[in-house]
Amino acid sequence: MNTDTALRRGHTKIKKSRNSTQIRENIMGYLFILPNLVGFLVFTVFGVVFSLYMSFTDWSLIKKFSNIKFIGFSNFVDLFEDTWFHASVLNNMWFLLVIPVMIFLAMVLAFLVNDKVFFKNGFRTILYLPNITSVVAISVIWFTLFNPRSGPINEFLRTLGISDPPMWLSSTVWAKPTIGLLMIWKTVGYYTILYLAALQGIPKQLYEAATVDGASTRQQFFGITIPLLSPTTFMLTILSVMNIFKDWSLIQIMTEGGPGTSTYTIGYYIYYAAFRKNQMGYAASMAWVLLVIIMVFTVIRFRVEKRRQY
């Protein structure tokens, strides 16, 4: 009897202390994430709701708050008729063509730098340099290199006998490929590093066995490397698609969307509409179209990655 009550007492004590520990854990947990939580609530939660609200108004920086009107879906309707927006979407599609080039190059470079060459570490460092360089500095440098009149690239082309080299960033035809080239130059090293991480996961024995069977380097690359890297390839493809829709600083610095509308992208047009043309509501509606596009790609990504696990 006595021992029984004692036991029971003990149990309640433990339960009580467990409860108080849990409360203490809760307080501690929320204290630790307080800065995160404030940032999340203010900038993300409120931001998302507020930008959705903006997209249904004619919000503008120069208007007084009381003059801002709720205009329903008319921003979205206007988008469908806006030729600049059409051009931006088409240009974004064009820039998607850069992705296969970028990814294939990164794959080949990772394959080489992994163990096919001397000075592996040196090459890795060099490939990574553009990624840690300011996009403004990169733009300034390439801007002079691509200078149509006296830039070294066109001087070089002239010595090759091309008397009429491209006008690069000043030409509606060549501006997009030039920007695309810059995207590749800036990103390929970073993707190479990510591929290298994935290559470390491929067992060496596979390559050794293939070598014994007399497979050439090229056969090994296409037969082993490419198939086994496909999860990374998939992830990088989705990442590139999202970045191409989102990134706008390179274009803002290099061309400001020009010449004409030839390098306008959705990401840049949002900035331009909101801060240059004072059409924040309109820009917000564009941002929501962008979000939908990115959501579609994210859903695809999760679907495929889930299927792969089973």
Partner: protein
């Protein structure tokens, strides 16, 4: 029989060696295209605007011309001020990231508070929201708070937890063995003490990756200053460089000297520390 196999082996070895040299040469070529713009930048910063566009290119200038650096550092354009501004913003941004991301990462990994996992999942899934969505509301919030045209608009967000950094630090804290924390708890230590004296020293590798990534990020941060900063004396280096290249578009030497002054410190730092970082950056995966 034996001799032929040995011979074949030697042949094979030699072929492999030759192939490795050829592939190395190919990589040298690739590296050259990666490095060429940097070499061009450094070499042009020491030339005048005429010899800069001379062709064939004088990679090593015949006459070193320091007028670009003089214009940048001693001219009317207050480059040293932009440098100080950039150092200030970068320092505060990295400090803020260190505080908020390590604390958040620790909480999400090691404190069992109610609602933790769903909160973390929500935070993680918001990483895919494009910045364009929150860019406009953030601008309005800063406007209401009176932060437009102040440096606070640039560093404040870093104190409020960057999702990527928090996620990164959580991964590192997860690897800290639970038993270590439990024995500390037995001794009566609370989470602040455990975090500070046990967990944090164990994730130094993660912390250095965090610091490096956000250092580079904050140093090169361009969109924020472009949106929020109006007065020239508050410019940071990226915005100042953009401003130069628009205003003084003919003084290429000065523009190049400014680019060198801005990028070379980061590049040198990276080259010295890369052995330490590349592995960790590789293993942690993504940062756009």
């Amino acid at each position: 029989m034996q001799i032929t196999t040995v011979g074949q082996g030697r042949n094979y070895q030699r072929n492999r060696f030759i192939k490795k040299i050829l592939l190395t040469l190919l990589m040298v070529l690739v590296s050259f295209t990666m490095l060429l713009p940097f070499i061009w930048m450094i070499s042009s910063s020491f030339k005048d605007s005429i010899s800069m566009f001379k062709f064939p290119i004088e990679w090593i200038p015949k006459e070193f011309n320091f007028s670009g650096y003089r214009d940048v550092w001693q001219g009317d354009i207050k480059f040293s001020l932009f440098f100080i501004n950039s150092i200030k913003i970068t320092f505060l941004a990295v400090l803020g990231t260190m505080v908020s991301c390590t604390m958040g990462g620790y909480a999400y990994a090691k404190i069992k508070f109610a609602g933790r996992d769903s909160l973390f999942l929500i935070k993680l899934s918001t990483m895919m929201i494009p910045t364009q969505i929150t860019m406009l509301p953030t601008f309005m919030i800063f406007k209401w708070l009176g932060l437009i045209n102040t440096h606070a608009a640039l560093w404040l967000p870093f104190f409020l937890g960057q999702p990527f950094g928090t996620f990164l630090m959580r991964q590192y804290f997860l690897k800290v063995p639970e038993e270590l924390l439990d024995s500390a708890k037995m001794d009566g230590a609370d989470h602040f003490k455990i975090f500070w004296s046990i967990a944090l020293p164990l994730v130094r590798a993660g912390l250095s990756v965090l610091v490096f990534l956000y250092f580079v990020w904050a140093w090169n941060y361009y969109e924020g200053p472009l949106l929020y900063i109006r007065s020239t004396e508050l410019y940071t280096l990226p915005l100042a460089l953009k401003f130069f290249s628009d205003e003084f578009s003919t003084n290429y030497t000065a523009i190049m000297a400014a680019s060198v002054s801005m990028t070379v410190p980061v590049l040198v730092l990276f080259i010295f520390l890369q052995r330490f970082f590349i592995e960790d950056i590789t293993s942690t995966g993504l940062k756009g």
